[in-house]
Symmetry: D2
């Protein structure tokens, strides 16, 4: 005869983000939460009786609701609040909660650079007598908690997106620029372009990713005369508004759902 | 002065799945759609004027609505319907739509095995005089379009999940079993376990992933006497119901949203 | 005061492949091995004394040597041989060896299709009045144990590669073909192209990946008249010869080192 | 009839690293190179004639040899040297070389922190009346160009590794520590632990990864009294010596081969 051994049930990779507004600047939390419960649920396995099985969907909702109410900079305290909330349910013996917080470095009061696999790119294509030379950057992860809107776009029967006057804007910058004349010091030129890209992303208010990208590209052409054109790929890495009303929670508009897919995908080049 | 070069905007990695019910068995489509538009949107970049910018969120909704109305086995035709729908919008010159269809092999009328990185595992831990031997499988991707419910679970203020009498059930089986006595032919034993796992996943109606896993484990112990216990990790790879009503579409209940994260995470062992 | 707690040392992700030649056809093993040892090595941590620390590089060599001598279809037996060999070393109390065998399905006597994330692609680019339509395949993993050479290439001072009259050839086929006229049944056409690609990869002897790709593309154009051209990307996924002589082992030429990077990268299109 | 369209051949993902020794501190280059050639090679495709096909293995060797001779901080110049060297070969019309340089930030004269997906971890396991609390770090990528040896280990017939008095040491730190008493300010405590880990990795000479890990763990216990124990996983991310002699190049001992797999895998815990 078979018998049930060790078991647990839970929800893995629940993502949630939160903006902590402050007078001296914002803080930003970007978390992935894993939950595993242990409890008196043997009948769920052996009989198909779900009377003790807290749905993993409810665990997800619990993360969202408690992110609104309890999430500050002390992530151990948030993990503890989650674990205690879930462990208090009938028939739950143990609640094991792990929170992983992605590293975001604040570089302006509302601007952040993310941990990333940033890479400097150099490309030379030599063809018969002539060379073409590009430099570039990949994996530059940036996010701002304010300074971008998206509104006044065309609507049809399938459009459900509301106008937003202000929103989180996050992207991973891929840029590739071509040198008409290769600069004497390519390394310092590359650092200069990187600085311009970051400064303009954080410094310029934008009406869209398209608009933001244009301003970044134009500024690079202004700053570095050797560059003839610059191409961007700018994924719009959405932090969606979470509607907490079905959970009976009054949302403050500071808790978001980061999603990996799908993403808006904006490409442009800026030329002289 | 700067000017705008080549540009496009779109939505990448829009996922959608659909069950095609049939008398001789179901078919199942699992798609990832990438859309890129070209159009008269220069002012969006240079002026922040969004009058011509079809939101990428609307492109996503368009995929969902047309999946209900137009998606059959001919994915080129679905790509074409999407491209023409979007290209007909004001100011759009070009609509480039790519559909990637994941391979699912039908093995029962409603059961499918997915393309995967399936691996056979062997583990021996030799400690001073004695050995322990495990075998296992990882990356066995299975999905059934019917034959699983989830209902009668406990509810609290944060529970929004409805009862479901029937639903898609999909998982990637990881199982590891221990041999009390190592069988003479480990390869044929492994094939036998794999067959039992697949047969029971497709053959047994279940009230939950937990219930499904238990029945799979019990059957393995019944079938292979050398096995003393078996451990499972069974992620619940959700295909969520898509609510098409906000899009003005009467849903037939056959179009779903596959999500990678978060996922339900069920672990159990079954012992003698 | 601090004291050492649980510890182990080992080598993770040691890859090795082996061809098992047979009269009725070849078998092929593609393994990734993880090794962890436990032993009397406290002084290595606390004093920097390596007298008991079997190098992880030696563990890797042990995998290679025993793959030559002991690896057959029974991977549990290979894991056991490794564990016992290592556990017999002075000061080793426990040797924990896990072998993961990738799934390769034999489809001809010397041809194999690998577990994969195979996807069917459909692309439509609608531009003002006209459409262009492509279909494609990605993630089709194939390997043959014979039937490809590479020799008589140009040599310079930096060329160390020997001529090979026969070698393992493995690739992951990405192909994209354009339809001049979209066929009535795109699904059966796609299956037909897939069959031609597989048949020609396994059926035609080739002098290089380039040569193999050309024959595959030419055959597709011969078989499906609606196709105007086909583009390939064919990475050469090397299985390098392992030189076992430094290990004192007489190699039989059947054990190989699969490497993920770098890889040969061949692209071509075939047109009418 | 079929004819050959656009085509190219090359080597993708050639990895190489180099230490640039300097009086004020070292610089470190960590590159991945992609090469694609275009040339008069139609017969290779259509006839299997390799007379013009520079082997991709030779391209790889060319990267290694030129890394020794030509690689400095100006990666565009290195890309250009590679492109010109290859384009000068008979029958090559175009050489397209892309170099991607991973970001390493120098934090001591010989110590570097890599671009990473660093994450802060908090875990609470609540079981009936009691809690256990852990904090941790994952994805902390560190490398030093000197300050680690590995020698005087046991040798057997399968040991080919030479003793090294000094070597590059690189790892991605995963650490998890348990709090006996949860500190009042978990965020500043976490930052303190991170600082200790980095300081000790760069500050302490070590005889092995094991030795390095022990010193890091012991220092954390010394510094933060609330911590009862700390567990590490420290992969040894090898930068192998490249033997350039078969290429006719006198190596200076500063060019290395970074490899992703296999890797040494060291785990330990340090307790009070």
């Amino acid at each position: 005869v078979a018998r049930l051994g060790e078991n647990r049930w839970g929800k893995t990779s629940v993502r949630v983000s939160k903006v902590h507004r402050g007078s001296g600047g914002d803080a930003f939390s970007d978390l992935t939460v894993d939950i595993a419960l242990r409890g008196a649920v043997e009948a769920a396995f052996t009989q198909g009786d779900n009377a003790g099985v807290i749905p993993t969907d409810t665990m997800k909702n619990t993360v969202y609701a408690l992110a609104e109410e309890r999430l500050g900079s002390d992530v151990e305290s948030f993990a503890s609040a989650l674990a205690h909330h879930l462990q208090a349910r009938d028939g739950v013996h143990g609640a094991d909660v792990t929170v992983a917080q992605r590293r975001w470095e604040r570089v302006t009061p509302t601007g952040f650079v993310g941990g990333s696999s940033e890479r400097r790119i150099a490309r030379v294509d030599a063809e018969d007598g002539s060379d073409r030379t590009w430099a570039g950057i990949e994996g530059l992860v940036v996010l701002k908690t304010t300074g971008s809107s998206f509104r006044d776009f065309p609507r049809d029967a399938l459009t459900t997106l509301p106008d937003k006057d202000d929103r989180i804007l996050a992207t991973t910058v891929s840029a590739r620029w071509r040198y008409g004349v290769v600069p004497a010091d390519t390394t310092s030129t590359w650092e200069r372009v990187r600085t311009v890209l970051i400064d303009r992303f954080f410094g310029d208010w934008s009406a869209s990713v398209q608009h933001q990208g244009w301003m970044m590209g134009r500024a690079v052409l202004d700053e570095v005369l050797e560059i003839t054109d610059i191409e961007f790929r700018l994924p719009n890495q959405h932090h969606l508004d979470l509607d907490l009303r079905p959970l009976g929670v009054d949302g403050s508009g500071t808790v978001f759902l980061p999603v990996s897919e799908p993403f808006g995908d904006i490409r442009l080049s800026v030329e002289r």
